[in-house]
């Protein structure tokens, strides 16, 4: 590759265990290829650390295609880094310059306790879905798929909400550490389909209660979640969730 290799100065949050004291540790990474992904730069750092007998930085990652929602890095104070609509696994080093300093931290929220280094526990999200983020249809109960026509615009809107990858960037970006975008995206997805109708009251009430029980903050319309969301899910879902909640409570 003809591209010029870069030196990147990293400051990375290191924390041995959930209750240990964490700290930012500086690393100089020489020879970063601009075509590397952000996580490949971390692989490269880690290989170097192992060779020097140091412990590598733990971070969650899996598909590296921006769809599994595993990766979760706060990059210079921005969830998933500076590129809009991009999970950090899809961020590439060509967006940085030789000599740049980058600060990398884990998601920080009461609802997401740190496990180690950049790895957090996001099981609260599963519990929110378990509280009602589904349509109760047992296997084998379904009628022919085309018996349920859905207006295309609604179906497309439903997809836009359903695109959530459950990464938690919305929580990490929110000054209140609110999980409103995550929770409302599922409520809004299912609200767009006639199949979701019968359970809608129970769904919104139980999911909102669970969200509160997990220690996430309330939404105060900062909009940071939408800006950080790698799938650019609209905060219109939060408005919809509030309407649904009000309707459920007063009907």
């Amino acid at each position: 590759m003809a591209d010029k290799l870069m030196r990147i100065n990293l400051k990375v949050w290191r924390q041995e265990s959930p209750n240990a004291q964490g700290r930012l540790v500086p690393y100089v990474v020489e020879g970063v290829n601009p075509h590397m992904s952000f996580l490949e730069m971390f692989d490269y750092l880690n290989e170097g650390l192992i060779q020097q007998g140091e412990e590598p930085v733990e971070f969650d990652h899996d598909c590296r295609e921006g769809i599994c929602g595993s990766c979760s890095m706060m990059v210079d104070g921005m969830a998933h880094g500076p590129q809009r609509g991009t999970a950090v696994c899809q961020l590439h080093m060509r967006h940085y310059k030789d000599g740049d300093t980058i600060v990398v931290e884990p998601w920080r929220a009461t609802g997401f306790p740190i496990i180690k280094d950049l790895v957090v526990d996001r099981s609260a999200f599963d519990r929110i879905i378990a509280a009602g983020g589904y349509i109760s249809v047992n296997t084998g109960n379904a009628q022919d798929a085309n018996m349920i026509p859905v207006e295309k615009a609604k179906s497309d809107a439903g997809f836009d909400y359903a695109a959530c990858i459950g990464c938690g960037a919305c929580v990490a970006a929110c000054p209140n550490a609110s999980a409103a975008l995550f929770t409302s995206a599922k409520i809004a997805h299912l609200a767009m389909f006639p199949q979701g109708e019968p359970e809608k009251k129970r769904r919104v009430v139980r999911m909102v209660e669970q969200m509160d029980a997990e220690g996430f903050g309330d939404c105060s319309n900062h909009g940071e979640c939408e800006a950080a969301c790698p799938k650019v899910i609209s905060i219109s879902s939060i408005a919809l969730m509030r309407r649904e909640y009000a309707k459920a409570m007063f009907s």
Binding site: M1, A2, S17, N33, H35, M36, S37, E40, D43, E47, L49, I50, Q51, E55, P56, E58, D62, C63, R64, E65, I67, C68, G69, S70, T86, Q90, H92, R94, I115, D121, R122, S123, D126, I129, A130, A131, G133, Y134, I135, S136, V137, T139, G140, A142, Q143, A145, N146, I148, P149, V150, E151, K152, S155, D156, F159, A162, H189, L190, Q195, G196
Partner: protein, 640 residues
Amino acid sequence: MTDPKLDSKVPSGPLQEKWSNYLNHAKLVNPNNKRKHTILVVGTGLAGASAAASLAELGYNVKSFCIQDSARRAHSIAAQGGINAAKNYPDDGDSVWRLFYDTIKGGDYRAREANVHRLAQISNSIIDQCVAQGVPFAREYGGLLSNRSFGGAQVSRTFYARGQTGQQLLLGAYQAMEKMIDAGKIKQYDRREMLDLVVVDGKARGIICRNLVTGKLERHVGDAVLLCTGGYGNVFYLSTNAKNSNVTAAWRCYKRGAYFANPCFTQIHPTCIPVSGDYQSKLTLMSESLRNDGRVWVPKTPGDKRSPDQIPEADRDYYLERKYPSFGNLVPRDVASRNAKEMADHDKGVGETGMAVYLDFQDAIQRLGADVISARYGNLFEMYEKITGEDPYKVPMRIYPAVHYTMGGLWVDYNLMSTVPGLFVLGEANFSDHGANRLGASALMQGLADGYFVISHTLGNYIAGESFPKIDENNEAFAAAENETRERVTRLLSIKGNKTVTQFHRELGAIMWDYVGMARNREGLQHAIDAIVKLREEFWQNLKIPGSNDTMNKNLEFACRVADFMELGELMARDALEREESCGGHFREEYQTEEGEALRNDDEFAYVAAWEYRGAGARAEMHKEELVFENVKLTQRSYK
């Protein structure tokens, strides 16, 4: 000829009636008795999540395990293109028979007729189930479902949700699971890796798991184990699989008596983003739906390094359209991949490395407009631009084949049961439905067919027909398996050598790609076996793992997996060596037609090669299940 241990247990009767005959006669478990049985489901991809949900709905107690931090992240999530079904909504001539026929032909006649036909029959119920769950499939303005043609099919039978079909289907199954978790019928264990199968009195009765946060080994007891752990493409290091996808759970079962079938049948997907450098950690698939509108080409002249916009029409070779006029750019995956390799081998490859071909949308954009192309492929174009920094609306995409899927896997009978009673294998982890080559949009179909609609009946048939003496985790088989697992983990940590697990994995991958990849030959395969054995010896002497066993340690997790890949790689090469024919994804250079197409040998190789583990250091033993074709005529696959 079929080995008696490999009785496929295919029901009698005409092909079309086999599954209904089975259902009519399958043993049933009384509703009150189902709750007395615990079923262990390992893996939460399409197969695992749909099985866990369906079994819990029926009343079984389910324990579900995944290596990710949430069940929703299993690698099925990354499937882009779509899911096939024989609905024939477009009325373009599709039927259950045609889906069956295309699948068995696409698999180059190395799959079992009855299994594939059942898959085609069930396909329609999957779409119904998913729509009822609220899966947002693409729709037409009239509100009904939209279909597209996909990967080598001449009918439009593929249902899709933009380029994120796997994600939406998995979330449907995951949500069904969460519903049953809420109902108290499923207990979910995240960040757990199955490291051994526990066999008691000849039956699968439990698993040993490692808690990936604490390093603690856990024993889980059940009446059956469902292995839904996906494929083993990561043996090549670079593949489109997620970084954590691995063979370990399946390999541990192999070592406990489950036969491993057709390990050499791997699918190299033709449209992936090419390797850009040696730091590359994985490869990214570009859905082959792109081939519906993109045209594949290379320069006519070898070594032509002009930029694509400088190469006039007359100097371009649209080689798929030229060689396969009736299928053109839509030839099946194995054919498209092999042809791309051939172009690169003849120095017609493009891009800096020469290991790529163009996938060009200019004609489609002119014909349909950029808006239409954006509506069809917008998210894929964006993904391509994020990774490469190039805009495919302006510059042709560069693509190259990459390891994507493994048709081989643990051998199962019609019940999806392995050679270990009580061990069922679902989805990509089994070998059953795709023969030597999987057609596009068939993996999602198979995972969900197995999980939603097959296992619920075949498991019941097994449970109702067996007795289950009460055992608990203090049983000596559990203690022994846990000890063996602990010793293996401890041994890996204690090597304290000089090379990292990534270095070893890359080296293994390079051997596999060069000699057990898109084109194989006797000499190369023998070389691969020797090289893998040598590398494996070095691995166990010179591996360096940082950290300890009692906290999260991803390098240790990977080391456990690479240790198994080192053994699997050898078996794959051996299987490829024994199969002296070319079929589907398995191309032996010695066996090709004059035009360079795969040359099958049905007289000698129309069988499933199922490998039995014979102990450490001993050579695996091959058993054969003869494939009997009563309904289709074996023909040379031609896409010309």
